[in-house]
Amino acid sequence: MAGIYIHVPFCKSKCRYCDFTSYPQKIGFADAYMACVLKEMKLRSAELKGKKFDTVYFGGGTPSVIDSKWIVGCMNQIRACFELADGAEVTIELNPGTIDQQKVDAYKHCAINRFSIGLQSAIDSQLEDLGRIHAAKDFRIACDLLGDANKSADIMIGLKDQSVSDIKKSIEFASDCGVRHISMYALTPEDGTPIYTDYLNGELPDADAVAEMYQAACKFLKEKGFLRYEVSNFAKSGAQSRHNLNYWRRGEYIGFGVSASSFIFGRRFTNTHDLDDYMKCILSNHYPVVDDALIDPQDARFEKVMLALRTEEGLSLREYKQEFGTDFASDFLEPLKKNAKYLELTNSRIKIKDEFLYVQNTILIDFLQ
């Protein structure tokens, strides 16, 4: 398994909680930027010869704000430069209010088969607090446009004045619109974002309240047929995101575009977070990489554990041994002993018990050696 990630850093406007690399003011750069992304693929094509990719993911920003010809162009370039498996999962993130029939047709035509839509909440006042530019009804319109394609919704918890029944309403709404996958993240007020002031003023629910929301939402999602397969991801049967699963299984992926991360040939590297810098590098035929590190065997083992323990399937002891040649239990004897009561072992897979999945950091820290 290997994935391809393309970062599209443009938005109509910046949400109040966003600290990702996105440029609402610079949509005029989109043509130049996307030309660079195509060129970056070309630059990488020789060294990735022979790698087979199973998933593609357009993330952002909002990939649906730019002209769909660039998405189509990316898909053509991917096919020209790399080996893309038949039946590959190809996802694009989009926001309600940014697509029309023409775009949807173009996406489907170039084999995009999964649509991840930023709903966040079905309560309009909450969308406004987040600085979203759409209303809940726009989500339904988008879903109708997409028809019976495989759809996912993002939902946020931990919002100002949010109640458990608000969250249930949002889940219900997404489900009614035909969504088969839900990503549910807690709002993280990052320093420097406008929403951080709400946090400083005590307007956001505290960690205990968020935990309460999370537990209630998990239960409700299950009732609706969405099963948790990762701490923040829930899917109806067969609708798990293969692209994301690949991250958690510590599979390889190559990222294109500003601030995109990659993990391939045992190295992790990240592209520059500066748009101008990115384009300058590409135009002068340089890789725009800023951080690049070969992962040593001990780090690799920890990564494997850290990522696998996020998931419902947990860590396969057999797979671990195959990958590293050592036994998980002897590599992590001390942390295992210390955390025995938070872990469970079934069919030679080890996972964090359901009730402790939401406090995994404290457990994972012990595995950092």
């Binding site: 807690a186 995109a260 950091n361």
Partner: protein, 601 residues
């Protein structure tokens, strides 16, 4: 018999904190050309970082200067700086023994403070000539005549000739120098007699070995001499002698009457003790100088390395600190909760804090300090008597007939406006009122007896905050009194944590237990399970708080597969965890053991 030079003056400066002692010392050094104004860093004598930060003098730093007086003669001045804080009376007595005179610096805006008085009396006991110096005359609120009157009334010194100066502006400093020449006697002694030198301080130099700070009382010492001390038979060949400028300045010899240093490749810091007398090994003096009063530790606490494997490093650090601070005592100790460490005795709370900070800064060691305790006298049912300063060593209640606790006499000086709040505080702290006298319209002296264990927590902070900093306070140990004392235990997750136990008065156990449990609840971070914190006396629970289990700590959305960032966040959290100590299954931050002293008021 031949007398030492008539042109030597050995003196120290006595002053309350902030009354300008270091500034006056700096001005004197500037005026005698000891330090060019350009090279001068403010407050030269306070050389430890810690001293500069806190604006106080802890260690003695001697300096030699030369001054040509109006009588046309050149005089050698040896200034030995003294600490001002109440905890360091012992250090003061060491400097006094090396001097013939003292400058008593009094702030013209504040008058004489309690602890200054204590040091003045020490100086008088040592037969020192005292010259009052009125400082800060440049300030609008200066009351020169009132201050002089106070000196005459309170101490009984003639203040009519006292130099009135402003150290800040450098006014009248020369007057001080002239008064030193006129009033402070030249040292007595016999330069021909066998060597007798009093060690008043020492420190360890990596290249030269132990450097002894000495006052030569009789005879002389030069490079190549073989010396010994009275308490040890070991002999050392002198490799260097000299004066302080204030850095070490080598000389050919040191003569009777002089203050200086001796280096003799002394490797072991246990071979020489401050207060001991150095003599010539080949021609020894018959008896030592009187030395110092042995000091008594008043406050005790446990010090443990945060990293258990650093026990020996901690031991080294304590030994080195003890070399120039003989008042620090320590012995190995073990705690169930904290492992191997040391039980240490100090002169007071400030002394304790200073030592803790010096261990961390100068030796780069992370340490855990337990709450301070005093030494209790326990009368056992079998007739035995023992002193206990470590609560976890207290015998079982059934074996205790009765206990006594140390009592101090406290003198509190304050403007009359705050008498009420001071009395309230003393009452809360189980104090017994003894006397109240008006020193003048603006100053009242309150006399109380108080249990020492009430003072070591936050008495000093409280008195300062309740009097907006106006009151000052001094205390001395006057003995032991029978008292109803109990051991207060803290249970974390059901297990007694011995490092948190304390001995308290029976009537104070309940509020203290509540307060402790509340403080601990705030100080211990939430963990994966609920942690009950209980305070107990004799197996009976008297207070309970709960640290709730953490319910959410999952990292935010992992965007675009940026796993490196996630890993870094975990590593950062792991770093924070290293400052914690596992007590049973509970992880406790190292600061907790001290922070529990804070009161919630």
């Amino acid at each position: 018999m031949s007398q030492p030079s008539k042109f030597i003056r050995n003196f120290c400066i006595i002053a309350h904190i902030d009354h300008g002692k270091s500034t006056i010392a700096d001005r004197i050094m500037e005026l005698t050309g000891q330090v060019s104004a350009r090279d001068m860093e403010d407050q030269l004598l306070d050389s430890m970082d810690l001293e500069r930060e806190r604006g106080i003098t802890i260690k003695l730093t001697p300096v030699r200067m030369y001054y040509t007086a109006k009588d046309g003669n050149e005089y050698e001045f040896n200034l030995i700086d003294t600490p001002g804080h109440v905890d360091f009376t012992y250090e003061v007595s060491r400097s006094l023994a090396a001097c013939e005179g003292a400058l008593l610096v009094v702030d013209a805006t504040q008058g004489i403070e309690a602890q200054t008085l204590a040091n003045v009396y020490l100086a008088l006991e040592n037969d020192l000539e005292i010259i009052p110096v009125i400082n800060k005359i440049d300030l609008a609120s200066a009351d020169v005549e009132g201050t002089k009157k106070e000196i005459e009334e309170v101490i009984g010194l003639d203040a009519s000739y006292a130099p009135c100066v402003s150290a800040k502006e450098g006014t009248n400093i020369e007057d001080i120098l002239e008064k030193i020449v006129e009033h402070i006697p030249a040292p007595q002694g016999d330069t021909e007699a066998p060597l007798k030198a009093l060690i008043f301080d020492s420190y360890y130099d990596n290249y030269k070995g132990v450097i002894l700070f000495v006052r030569i009382k009789d005879g002389s010492v030069r490079v190549g001499d073989v010396i010994k001390t009275f308490r040890s038979d070991k002999q050392f060949e002198v490799t260097e002698v000299g004066a302080f400028n204030p850095k070490l300045l080598p000389k050919d010899l040191l003569n009777a009457g002089e203050v200086g240093y001796i280096a003799a490749s002394i490797k072991s810091i246990q071979d020489v003790a401050v207060g001991d007398t150095v003599t010539n090994a080949l021609e020894p003096a018959s008896e030592p100088l009187p030395g110092y009063k042995k000091v008594q530790s008043v406050v005790f606490c446990g010090i443990y390395p945060l990293d258990g494997s650093k026990f020996n490093d901690l031991k080294d650090a304590l030994l080195k600190l003890q070399l120039n601070d003989a008042s620090l005592i320590f012995e190995p100790d073990t705690s169930v909760a904290l492992g191997f460490g040391f039980r240490c005795g100090f002169l007071g709370l400030l002394h304790m804090e200073i030592i803790q900070e010096r261990i961390e800064r100068e030796f780069n060691l992370d340490i855990i300090t337990t709450a301070p305790s005093v030494s209790y006298l326990v009368h056992k049912t079998d007739g035995q008597e023992l002193f206990v300063d470590n609560p976890s060593h207290l015998p079982e209640p059934a074996d205790i007939e009765w206990m006594e606790e140390p009592i101090v006499k406290a003198e509190i000086y304050s403007p009359p406006d705050y008498i009420g709040s001071i009395m309230d505080l003393c009452q809360e702290k189980r104090g017994v009122f003894k006397d109240m006298t008006y020193l003048d319209k603006k100053r009242v002296k309150l006399l109380y007896t108080l249990p020492l264990n009430e003072i070591i927590y936050d008495f000093f902070d409280q008195i300062k905050s309740r009097t907006r900093g106006y009151a000052s306070f001094d205390y001395e140990l006057i003995g032991y009194e029978r008292s109803e004392l109990v051991k207060l235990d803290i249970l974390l997750n059901g297990d007694v944590c011995d490092a948190l136990s304390m001995i308290v008065h029976k009537d104070r156990a309940y509020p203290r237990g509540r307060e402790l449990a509340e403080n601990l609840k705030d100080a211990i971070p939430r963990q994966l399970f609920e942690i009950p914190i209980q305070a107990a006396v004799g197996g009976k629970i008297i207070a309970r708080e709960t640290v709730k289990a953490v319910r959410k700590d999952v990292l935010a959305k992992c965007y675009g597969g940026d796993i490196t960032r996630k890993k870094k966040l975990l590593e950062k959290q792991k770093e924070g965890k290293k400052r914690m100590r596992s007590i049973g299954s509970v992880e406790v931050p190292s600061e907790v053991f001290m922070s529990i002293l804070k009161t919630n008021k």
